[in-house]
Symmetry: C2
Subunit: 196 residues, 2 copies
């Protein structure tokens, strides 16, 4: 038997935090504090269609005066139920694949040639990510959530922060160990995620 997709649950969960379009859902999982999950368009749109057919979500076309068409999806009571039964299941699986780290692990002269750049890019991304995280954290506080909801979100938000901080620290230590000065190159501002 092949594996069971978690994508429908992830989408249901995202919708439990408010109605969203496919695009919104994609953005939701792109946020820095969601580094522990990813979804791609190719999964989101077909899954949304499937969930609609199963009656777990409802759709409404946003007829705003401006901007392109938006199909906004909402969780139905049935969807809520399915989400809850998934949340209750205790067996969880996880998978991690960090190609850059793998290459570093196999470190050979080929890697060293670009080590400086790789680590510096990573450092930049991480520190940008931390900045974004602070913004996301503040936005969350303004969301008018119940005490309990806020506690859960703060818990995972906190994990994201600790992860970014730890990786940034590791990055800086590694740069130091390889005798590389941080200030040796001009840094260009470029927003690019290491995700996907």
């Amino acid at each position: 038997m092949p594996r069971k997709s978690r994508t429908p649950y992830a989408i249901l969960g995202a919708l439990s935090h408010g109605p969203k379009s496919g695009y919104d859902i994609s953005c939701y999982f792109e946020k820095d504090h969601m580094f522990f999950w990813n979804e791609s368009y190719g999964q989101i749109y077909p899954t949304l269609k499937k969930l609609l057919k199963e009656g777990l979500v409802e759709v409404e076309v946003d007829t705003r005066t401006q901007g392109p068409e938006r199909k906004v999806y909402t969780l139905t009571p049935e969807g809520q139920e399915v989400l809850q039964s998934w949340l209750t299941e205790t067996d969880c699986k996880s998978s991690f694949r960090d190609e850059l780290m793998l290459k570093l692990h196999f470190g050979m002269p080929e890697v060293q040639k670009n080590l400086l750049d790789r680590l510096q890019n990573m450092e930049k991304e991480l520190s940008d990510g931390l900045d974004a995280l602070l913004v996301e954290s503040e936005q969350m506080e303004e969301l008018d959530l119940s005490k309990e909801e806020l506690a859960y979100r703060k818990m995972t938000m906190n994990w994201s922060k600790m992860f970014y901080e730890a990786k940034l620290r590791w990055c800086q230590e590694s740069l130091k160990d390889f005798g590389i000065k941080k200030s040796s190159k001009k840094k260009k501002k470029k927003k690019k995620k290491n995700k996907s």
Copy 2:
């Protein structure tokens, strides 16, 4: 165009750290310090076959007096070359999926019922993982590697340690935040990976 598999490179890389059987390779990626990568049997064996056909690895049947049959694979010069060209490519992709963290993020009463257990199990796994990491770290020192090789492996080993420590800290803080006493339950010794 579909994505390109990293599995052949991961296997080539593993073999660059010494000859291995399919089983050995599986164990290699199960190690705690390799938390940032995973491979399953269903990929390893067929890929090994493919690499053999392409001449990137060689096989030799281990005719030991005891134990089941072992097919030990070795990297060929061609395999080494392919590995190196992959290491040189600078664009790396990564994906993370941590189902438990996702559930926690969507935190609802359903999650809270098991929150104590989930966090305590996680804490146990992480602290076991840290212990294993120390052992793996010592084993590495005894491996008689060149200065350079050692530096790379220490670098990623260090990341694994920092990751485990950060997650453990997060786990303990979360337990505290939810007003849960660590000593409230007997802990059973049970080695089970959260991977895969």
